[in-house]
Symmetry: C2
Subunit: 132 residues, 2 copies
DNA sequence: TCATCGTGTAGGCAACTGCTTACGTAAGGA
DNA sequence: TCCTTACGTAAGCAGTTGCCTACACGATGA
C-alpha cells in the first residue's frame, strides 16, 4: 500500500484490521478516551494511539481534547464512501449474473442436452456471448 | 497486517487498493484473461498476477484454466460479508446519533440557555448521559 | 513549583506489501 | 520435436505496517 492513497482506499484499509474494527464497535456504544479504548486489548497505549490515527485519517473517528483526556467519537458519515461503493458494485455484479442466468436458461430451452460441464463453466461460456 | 487474518479483513484489505478495485470494475463488464486484465495497467504481468492472488484469496474472484489461458470471473457473493458489516454498522451508528440528537433537543427545551460550547462538545456531554 | 496522569511522538525492529526481472511450466502450433 | 504464448513462481529490493520501549508535553493537583 503506497502512503496517502485515495479516500476510499484509506477507509477500506482502516477496516481491514480486527483491532480497528473492534475499536469502532466499542465506540458505537459511546465515545471513550484513549485509555478506555486501550484497556481491553493486550497492546500498549501507543499501539492503540497509532490505530486511532489510522481511523482518524480515514475519517471514521474524531479526537477532541477534553481537559486532560482525548475523547474519541464515531463519525458515521465516514462510512458513506465505503457503503456506497460496496452496495453499488454488489448490486451491479448480481444484476449481471442474473442476466447470465437468464441467458443460460434460454440456451437450455433451445439446446436441452448440451455438452457436459459444470454450471460455472457453462456460465463462463455464456459470458462470451454478452461481450462484444 | 499479519498474514492470513480473518475473512472480513481479507476482503477489506483486497478492496483497499485502487488497482485491485479497477480490476474488479473491469471484471464487472465480463470475465477476462490475465493478459487482458494487465493490458491497461503500467505494471508487469506478475504484479497483476499477485493482485489477482489477493482478490482470489479474499473470495472476490475465481481463476479457472481455459486451454492456454486463465479466465478470471467475479464472485458477487464474495462481497456479502463486507456489505453486511458496513450496512449494519452504518445503520447502528446513525441510529445512535439520532438518539443523541433527540436527547440534545430535550435538553435544549428544558435548559434553553445552557453554558457555552460547540455542538460537538454538547453532543459529547450528552453522551455520558446515555451510558451506564 | 513540582510530581503525576493521560497521550502523542521518536526510534528501532521484524514482518509484510508491491513492484521488478529472471526463470519454470503447461498448452498449442509448425 | 522445437518454438511460441500465457501465466505462475522465485528472489530481491525499497517502502510501509505494527508492535515495542523510552521520552516529551500539556493538564491537574498538592
Amino acid at each position: 500500500m503506497p502512503i496517502a492513497t485515495d479516500s476510499l482506499s484509506r477507509i477500506f484499509f482502516a477496516l481491514a484490521d480486527p483491532t480497528r474494527r473492534a475499536v469502532l464497535e466499542r465506540l458505537a456504544a459511546g465515545s471513550a478516551t484513549v485509555g478506555e479504548l486501550a484497556e481491553p486489548f493486550a497492546m500498549s497505549r501507543p499501539a492503540i494511539s497509532q490505530h486511532l490515527g489510522v481511523l482518524e485519517d480515514a475519517g471514521l473517528i474524531e479526537r477532541t481534547r477534553e481537559g486532560q483526556w482525548r475523547r474519541c467519537t464515531l463519525r458515521p458519515e465516514g462510512l458513506d464512501g465505503a457503503e456506497r461503493w460496496v452496495a453499488e458494485h454488489r448490486a451491479a455484479w448480481q444484476a449481471r449474473f442474473d442476466r447470465l442466468d437468464r441467458t443460460l436458461e434460454a440456451l437450455a430451452s433451445t439446446r436441452p442436452a448440451g455438452p457436459g460441464g459444470t454450471d460455472r463453466a457453462a456460465r463462463d461460456s455464456a459470458d462470451a456471448e454478452t461481450e462484444e
